[in-house]
Amino acid sequence: MDVRSQIALIFHLDKCIGCHTCSVACKNIWTDRKGTEYMWWNNVETKPGTGYPTRWEDQENYKGGWELKGGKLRLKSTGRGRIIPNIFHNPSMPSMDDYYEPWTYRYEDLFTAPEGDDQPIARAVSMVTGEPIDVEAGPNWDDDLGGSPIYAENDPNLEELTPEVKQMMFEIERMAFFYLPRICNHCLNPSCVASCPSGAMYKRGEDGVVLLNQERCRAWRSCVSACPYKKTYYNWSTGKSEKCILCFPRLESGQAPACFHSCVGRIRYLGNILYDADKIVECASRPDNELVDAQRELILDPNDPEVIAAARKNGISDGIIDSAQNSPAYRFAKEWKLALPLHVEFRTFPMLFYVPPLMPVIANQDSGSVRNETEDLFADIEKARVPIKYLARLFSAGNEGKVRYALRKQLAVRLWRRHKTVGDISAEQAERALLEAECSPEEAEAIYQLTALASMEDRVVVPPAQREMAIEALEDPLEFKQSTGFGFLTGPARGA
């Protein structure tokens, strides 16, 4: 058992209001520089929709992530045998047209235009070339199902639905959508890291944050193709790739990443989990419909004495083990089985989990009451406006049982709380709902607490991995007295 600590993230989609505050917070801090204007390390997509970059989920086209070939796990297009001959031209790399060309306006024209009969206008100019452009796409061009016939209907996840179901989804009275905020997943089995020819990309050992060494990046661009989530971006100006760094300077000082901190809907949870790194390859090689379980299997119980002993042996400090025991991510993803990974069939084991949205499901009612009184308490889930099949394609590699379980449990918690607070649901019904959803009253209360009432400190439990304390937490500081001193990366040897 090779126990490691990893920061894991939960996005509760039922609470996301699609306000894009997270995107703007991130943009203002990290990607307002030349060459990064088109990058959104954090973006919020409308689903159904084609996303950013356009149809990023279509791996027939972009060929990112891993695949099983003859029972063996291998990179879909960016392994050694493929990337070396393709190094001069990467055949599956998206170009700027697949994102959008960033632009600004010539505002000064509004003041300097000569007097005339017409109002002066500020022309759109490209932020790459500085020349006037016709804007054809932009960030969240298809927000809230805008341009559905072009965007939403071409969502790759709709492919398996029957034409009738698809048509029903886009009928104006039944139209339903939800938001999907996306950042780098900081995967356990990152294909970007595995495919970097320069070895510039790496996972930080102490918390699993995936980073890209700007000094070592040589612009071979294979990470851009390799990441199936398209969360590594190429900076066309510096000739280096860049990606979400999970605001590690903030994490190291105990603060939440900017997108978490600014989240208006409080949908974001952060905490570390302990996992067994020895089992990654074996678990990632399971058949598609077992992948959700395989990923949960990797996550270890931080209260198990055996796990704690193995973690200590691996140099994981007690503070980090404590924080894993309080981790909201562990509870949502493993204990309650409410949160599911996005596109687990890419086999990277993303460490960002989503609680699938119940909202469009329950809004199905036409009578105006909260729900219909039928024998089957969970009938609404099956009649959902967003079909379970669609959600399963997103969150469980097509395994509908996993999505159904998460939705039923959420609905049971709602019925339970409605019975407690409003009282129009009988105790018998509420208890039956919990029983059928495999949820105890205590668990229901805990889910309710963490979903609806939790404070910032409960939602974001940053493991104490502060770099400035890294040595003190693990080593005797006196051991380092008289060694390298301050400000030197390598020891200051005489004459060197």
């Binding site: 047209d97 970097c196 102490e206 040589r218 100006s237």
Partner: protein, 229 residues
């Protein structure tokens, strides 16, 4: 005197600048070592430039290096006329492919506004120098044929005399001006190399072939047990 400057002094200047400046740049400004790819800005024409250019150039370059390091093997191979013809024809074909690639690169850099934006003055100088080099190379192959054989008997001994620090320019002074242009331009290119994007050649991703699949970096040695209890 003129020949001495070009064939006895220029090579040392070029090699000296190359060695000192590439190392200095790597140590002090590692960040600037990048292939500076522009594929992201324009994805289609890029293929027809970059791929033929790189593959053609690599092939021709390896032929040159073979002439330098294993001249006996080349001469023995070329002893049969058919084999000599095959060497010459493949070399020429690959040089033409390189030129087509370079032509596409230049056309793309001029035609596509986004690619033009990221093309620096040093890039244009590099294209010009490589253009002169490839065209003069093709001209030599066409007008002064069988170079794969005479390279081994004239240029190889001259190059080795340079490396031994006893330059014998007699090997090259009698060569036609077209060959001399090819040689001199090569040294100019080598001397200019450290100041251009060409440095990406030096950081080709060779460790990729044998490193472990995943890279995990620790800020402490986790196998040294540190918990006191």
């Amino acid at each position: 005197m003129h020949d001495e400057l070009l064939f006895a002094i220029l090579p040392y200047v070029a090699m000296g600048v190359f060695l000192i400046m590439t190392i200095q740049r790597y140590r002090q400004r590692t960040f600037t070592y990048s292939s500076l790819s522009s594929q992201f800005l324009e994805n289609r024409h890029h293929f027809w430039g970059s791929v033929p250019f790189h593959y053609g150039l690599l092939f021709v370059l390896f032929l040159h290096l073979a002439g330098l390091f294993i001249p006996d093997v080349i001469l023995a191979w070329n002893a049969a006329p058919l084999r000599l013809f095959i060497t010459e024809a493949t070399g020429l074909a690959m040089a033409v492919i390189t030129l087509i690639g370079l032509g596409n690169i230049v056309l793309r850099r001029m035609g596509d506004t986004k690619s033009r934006t990221v093309t620096s003055v040093s890039d244009w100088i590099v294209y010009a120098l490589i253009g002169v080099q490839v065209i003069s190379g093709i001209a030599v192959a066409v007008f002064h044929g069988w170079g794969s054989s005479w390279f081994a008997t004239s240029l190889t001994p001259w190059l080795w005399s340079l490396f031994k620090l006893q330059p014998e320019i007699g090997y090259v002074t009698a060569l036609p001006w077209m060959v001399k242009l090819h040689i001199v331009n090569a040294w100019v290119l080598i001397g200019f190399f450290p100041f251009t994007r060409l440095v990406h050649v030096l950081v080709v991703p060779n460790p990729y072939l044998w490193r472990r699949t995943q890279v995990v970096l620790w800020n402490y040695d986790r196998h040294k047990v540190r918990s006191k209890d």
